[in-house]
């Protein structure tokens, strides 16, 4: 049987990323609740500064929903596990505590939690003066074994390098803040 290339006359629905995608996703979104969660996942992946994910085609790539859901919920891979549960000591306190740094999104949350836990005031960080003027100052031991003032480095860098925390008396911490 002879076949002529019918491309010129064929009815096509176009390439993905153009009308076809919208047609598919809008016609599927009505009846299929799972495809709308797929659309949600694309917006979750969007980070400021990173290139946005490609327009998603329904069911592509062929990864099953439960796998996609599991990947979204998983934490990012850790290479050596540092920066999660860390011991926290406070000068003058009889015993140490432990906290999971991943429970906090930023320094503000962490310091509020520490203030709560140890019933102390840590105050506000400033780049120039550290925690000058507060009763206590939070410090941490980093991967190199050095004691650093909490707040100097970006949060993400902090949680991967922090090995333990020590809440120093403000008078002792003065030295760190005045560099």
């Amino acid at each position: 049987m002879e076949f002529v290339n019918l491309k010129a006359t064929e009815l096509r629905l176009g390439l993905p990323g153009r009308d076809e995608t919208e047609e598919q996703s809008s016609s599927c979104a009505k009846n299929n609740k799972r495809s709308s969660s797929e659309m949600e996942s694309s917006s979750e992946h969007q980070e400021s500064g990173a290139p946005p994910p490609k327009a998603q085609v329904v069911g592509w790539p062929p990864v099953r929903s439960y796998r996609k859901n599991v990947l979204q919920q998983q934490k990012k891979p850790e290479s050596d596990g540092s920066g999660m549960f860390v011991k926290v000591s406070m000068d003058g306190a009889p015993y140490l505590r432990k906290i999971d740094l991943k429970c906090y999104k930023n320094y503000f949350d962490l310091l509020k939690a520490l203030e709560n836990m140890f019933k102390c005031t840590i105050g506000v960080y400033s780049e120039r003066e550290g925690y000058n003027g507060s009763e206590y100052a939070p410090t941490y031991e980093d991967k190199d074994g050095d004691w650093m003032l909490v707040g100097d480095v970006p949060w993400d860098m902090f949680i991967t390098s922090c090995k333990r925390l020590r809440i120093m008396k403000g008078s002792e911490a003065k030295g760190l803040g005045c560099l």
Partner: protein
């Protein structure tokens, strides 16, 4: 008759025949063999629940003890089949409840199972032993409670990848205290916590327990409690594999693992952290099956684990393993038969890991027994595919998914026709193939010419014209299942090869170019096929006949059109033209 064996003798001979193919062949010899065989067939496999009605099955095989039924088409896994399409198991259970009280096994895949069905199962079959629900949905933990409470002889309860509405973790407590026959339990798909003390007691009183697959909610610290009570386990699925890093947790875990001398299969590993992986090292030498596809750990830690498993036959892993990890795998695991590499970031625009075609080439070089591959990656070349084909002519399943549709050979920018052509030409026993990347009609010519043992073919975003589809339908002699999405295949090839469709289980085509008119014609020409148009835009009659349908699902059947179709499914048959006036 002077020279026929007594029936009992024939029946005894037939009892040695276990494969469906053999039994089907036997039943075609003569009428008396047909009769004898049908009374002693115990296992039935129904590949498409709409291909035959439960009444027909039960009438022919009244003494059936084990049924396996599949429902929705495979592309339902990727949300291409709208919800409510069908595949309800209830009619099957109702029919068997009345006629087959001795039924022992029910295995279902991609079917809708309600609590009502589960309750009916639990109350109808006194000797019920095996329930496997694979990728099913529609039931809650209440249904599971009925099974637990009433199935006194249950051996296997396997919920693999089903969607279960979690109402309460207490269903497990419904297993009576004197119930001790559990052999296999898989609850890995359950979202919320089951009562741990009930689980612990159940494990403790199940001396025959061989397979235990826990769900994510079972904490790692408690795993040793279960392992200590079941050191005879052969297959274990952990819960979440992370905990605060403590030496006592670690040593408990390591000790519990080392007591399990029969472990062959491991899975689970949600949220895995590397620190706890070495606890398993004692069992690695016996492991033949390892599913790390939920473990988001980096390549070096993966390699450390995998290379200890010298007897590994099956590995499922995320692409965090990277090319270098696969190279190490190829060097250590010479018995590897099946490899699946899943994408950790399927929707990301940029690669997040260093996994390319090279990883697969390494494994194809180093693992002489490799026969089954599922590989997600971002780039591929014809050269790599040719190398893989030459290295591994013994491949049986080859599923390649290049994440971006229509991506060409990244070295030459040509289509990947030659590469896949090499696969089908060299791998003469290939039964399953999934294509991806930039492909023209040429690849289908190669497939039609060479893939004579191919049974299942999956095509997406490929081909130029109807010629492609024609090559496949006219050339692939063993084809049973064909699923196609987003390809420029239309009426001509389909109608020219209509008779072929009666030799196959099913054909799925979505977002292609098959017109409503052609669907009607197909339905009229071939009354032994159900030609289903699945279209959410309303009745196909409300659009011109030349308008392509959204989805087409064609399958052979001896039971005619089904009666449970939702509003967005139309079956084309002789009366199609009358129905829409």
């Amino acid at each position: 008759m002077a020279y026929s064996f007594p029936e009992e003798v024939l029946e005894h001979v037939f009892s040695f025949l276990t494969s469906d193919k053999d039994r089907n062949a036997v039943s075609l010899v003569c009428k008396s063999w047909y009769e004898i065989e049908r009374w002693c067939r115990r296992r039935i496999f129904v590949g498409n629940c709409y291909a035959v009605s439960p009444e027909i099955v039960i009438r022919r095989f009244p003494e059936v003890r084990a049924v396996e039924i599949k429902g929705k088409p495979h592309f339902a896994d990727f949300n291409l089949v709208p919800e409510g399409w069908g595949a309800y198991v209830y009619p099957w259970i109702a029919a068997m409840s009345a006629a087959c009280p001795l039924l022992e096994e029910i295995k279902l895949k991609r079917m809708v199972v309600t609590d009502e069905s589960l309750e009916l199962i639990s109350k109808s079959f006194k000797n019920f032993k095996v329930l496997v629900l694979s990728s099913c949905e529609g039931f809650t933990t209440d249904g599971l409670a009925s099974i637990a409470a009433n199935c006194r002889n249950l051996r296997e309860l396997d919920l693999r990848e089903s969607e279960v509405e979690d109402l309460s973790g207490h269903w497990l407590s419904h297993f009576p205290d004197n119930y001790t026959s559990l052999v296999s339990l898989n609850i890995s798909c359950l979202g919320s916590e089951v009562s741990f003390s009930a689980l612990e007691r159940l494990v403790a009183r199940s001396p025959n327990l061989r397979t235990l697959r826990l769900n994510r909610a079972v904490p790692l610290e408690k795993l040793p409690n279960l392992l200590r009570r079941a050191p005879q386990l052969v297959e274990l699925g952990t819960g979440a594999y992370s905990a605060e890093i403590r030496s006592d947790t670690y040593s408990n875990l390591a000790e519990a693992f080392s007591a399990c001398k029969q472990l062959k299969g491991l899975s689970g590993f949600w949220d895995a952290i590397p620190s706890y992986l070495p606890a398993m090292l004692h069992v690695c030498s016996g492991i033949t099956s390892l599913n790390l596809s939920y473990a988001t750990i980096q390549s070096p830690d993966l390699v450390q684990l995998v290379t200890q498993c010298r007897n590994l036959q099956r590995l499922w892993v995320l692409d965090y393993i990277e090319d270098r990890g696969l190279e190490a795998l190829a060097a250590s695991c010479k018995d590897l038969q099946e490899l699946r590499v899943f994408p950790s970031d399927p929707f990301g625009a940029e690669p997040n890991v260093s996994l390319t075609e090279q990883g697969l080439v390494s494994v194809s070089e180093g693992c002489p027994k490799l026969q089954s591959v599922l590989y997600f990656c971002r780039q591929m070349s014809n050269a790599a595919l040719v190398a893989i084909a030459r290295n591994r002519p013994n491949l049986i399943r080859f599923r390649l998914c290049i994440l971006e549709p229509r991506v060409p050979d990244y070295l030459t920018l040509e289509p990947l026709d030659t590469g896949f052509g090499a696969i089908v030409e060299n791998c003469k026993e290939l039964r399953r193939l999934s294509l991806s990347g930039l492909l023209t009609d040429r690849v289908f010519k190669y497939i039609g010419t060479h893939a004579k043992k191919l049974e299942m073919l999956s095509i997406a975003f490929a081909g130029d014209s109807d010629l492609g589809l024609h090559h496949v339908l006219s050339g692939c002699e063993s084809l049973r299942k064909l699923e196609i999405r987003d390809c420029p295949f239309g009426d001509k090839a389909l109608l020219a090869n209509a008779a072929k469709l009666e030799t196959m289980r099913s054909l799925w085509m979505s977002s292609c170019s098959v017109s409503y008119g052609a669907c009607k014609l197909l339905g009229q020409k071939l009354p032994r096929l159900n030609v289903e148009v699945i279209d959410e835009r309303g009745p196909p009659d409300s659009r011109p006949e030349s308008c392509p349908v959204e989805r087409l699902y064609v399958y052979r059947t001896v039971s005619g059109r089904r009666v449970d179709m939702p509003g967005f499914v139309w079956t084309m048959d002789e009366d199609a033209s009358l129905r829409f006036s």
